[in-house]
Amino acid sequence: MYQYSEQDHQLLLERVEQFRGQVQRRLKGQLSEDEFKQQRLRNGLYLQLHAYMLRVAIPYGLLSAEQMRTLAHIARKYDKGYGHFSTRQNIQYNWPQLEDVPDILDDLAAVEMHAIQTSGNCIRNTTSDPLAGVARDELEDPRPYCELIRQWSTFHPEFNFLPRKFKIAVSGAIHDRAAVAVHDIGLRLVNNAENETGFEIYVGGGLGRTPMIGKLIRDFLPKEDMLTYLEAILRVYNQLGRRDNLYKARIKILVHETGEDEFRALVEEEWQKIKATGLHLREQDIDRIKAFFVDPEYDDLPDTDREFENQILSNPDFARWADKNIELHKQSGYRVVYLSLKSAHQPPGDVTADQMDAIADLADKYSLSQIRTTHRQNLVLSDVKLQDLHALWLELKKLDLATPNYNHMTDIISCPGLDFCALATARSIPISQEITNRFDDYDFVNDLGDLSINISGCINACGHHHVANIGILGVNKKGTEVYQLTLGGSAREDASIGKIIGPAFEADQIVDAVSDVLTVYLDKREDPEETFLTTYRRIGQPPFKEKLYG
């Protein structure tokens, strides 16, 4: 993974001291809240429903074991003993005290972490494929490009006060595990007809109150032009994006209102101006960053293991977990392991300090001391030997991190909702827990197959409900929490926005409604291999509507 230079370290330490001074001046009353708010938001510090909330960046979701231990330490020393992994692959602490935040940032800086640009109208943490560098379907590792974007966008003076926040995702694989299509800019590594590798560029995707799928504005961009092209897009947005209306300020609105072709022409025009003189990436620039992401020295292992096969045959629980939570690895004899943060006992994405420490130990023991976070709020150990899977599973079970549900219906994305968020209008975590408890039946969940349920507690859609196969949106209707159902969304390479099925359901009806939707799917699917999304796209809304509303 990327290692900070002396300059990087100095930058972070100076930033911490700068913020320490700002906090001290705020506590003494030398800065008003209005003055301070912009400063704290630049350092990831929100004031939420019950307390301050600190959002810590995890660049493209990659953590070392040492960093995970520091996150555990922070949770234990400064918070209530846990953290929450978010859909942007970051971690959030829900209870820090203002005067402690500079010390927290100091601890983070010691392990090359920070909270810079995790809030505010700037370029946020670039997200990526949690299987980057190990996926079998990968064309090229996207992380060096994420890191280049991170370095370019951090404190970029021109893009520090954009009309609105700005999110970029990069994927290098055939299958989209980074929700590229619902980002302000999505980059996909592809080959052109000459077999050169470059990027497809999507712009104007996003969720919130106006969900949109990103538009392909360039089908091939040479890698060396990545930063100049991003700069051209952001310049157009910075100049033309609306600043008069918060709800129309995202780039997706600009692209929509300008028109895809016109927007593309504007970007190309801007790009031609800066292409020659801007931050052209030389091959050695890319190679310098790539050197931080070279493959480790994998052992030369066969891709089968007799002991593993015996364990699968003799232990149904292990077999279930292996079937659901293990992915093939590009290296023979290794596997990718998903650590489910979706047990029935904790809110989706939450991890206690003890669990974090234990995960760090497991990463050291079994997975080259690295951990990845996923946009579906799970964790990944990316380099586990086939022969170690059973021992790892036994340890994960003890930690309640071995629920066999990856990419299945109880692998629910949930925003914090009204239990924590100042913007939320309804609770989302209790609904996710009720669904998880109601359908806590492996055979049923397994039979349903690949199926996503996402829940948001307000129209801002932090729970990505628009791109779930079954999306749930909590809203406040005359003082009561009610829940809208959307069907047919997808965040993958076949991305689509789900459609509202009908009137909202009361809190005590929504889980029954989900059950009804599942009943229709099971009844209408052509065979057990036909996924929920395929069935829905084939039969449309009417059968679901009929079941739900009669």
């Binding site: 506590l27 820090p96 003890d354």
Partner: protein
């Protein structure tokens, strides 16, 4: 006539607090039931006191909320404010007691 109390977040801790006004002197409590409630005609005095606390850097972002009387204490009228007053409605993740020692040690320090 609707009764209101003033609420805000404590500047240092960020935690939820409610305004008590006794003999014109403001103080802040985490218990909504102990807050001073006034009707529409008198709530201006709460506002003035809350704004003074804000200027004194005790609290952040004060605002008035509707309350109703329940068993002799005040209860927020809306679901949002009820949750804000009583905390998350879910069980927070926690490690076993022995592992809270670092946190406890810090509190004692």
């Amino acid at each position: 006539m609707a009764l209101q109390v003033y609420t805000a977040s404590l500047l240092k801790e960020g935690l939820v607090a409610y305004l008590c006004l006794e003999d014109g002197l403001p103080s802040w409590t985490p218990e909504i039931g102990q807050a001073t409630a006034m009707d529409d005609g008198s709530v201006e005095s709460l506002k003035i006191a809350a704004e003074k606390s804000e200027r004194d850097n005790i609290i952040v972002a004060p605002y008035a909320i509707d309350v109703v009387n329940s068993d002799g204490g005040w209860v927020a009228a809306t679901k949002r404010e009820q949750i804000r007053a009583s905390g998350p409605t879910i069980v927070l993740p926690r490690d076993n007691a022995a592992n809270a020692s670092e946190r406890a040690g810090r509190k004692a320090a």
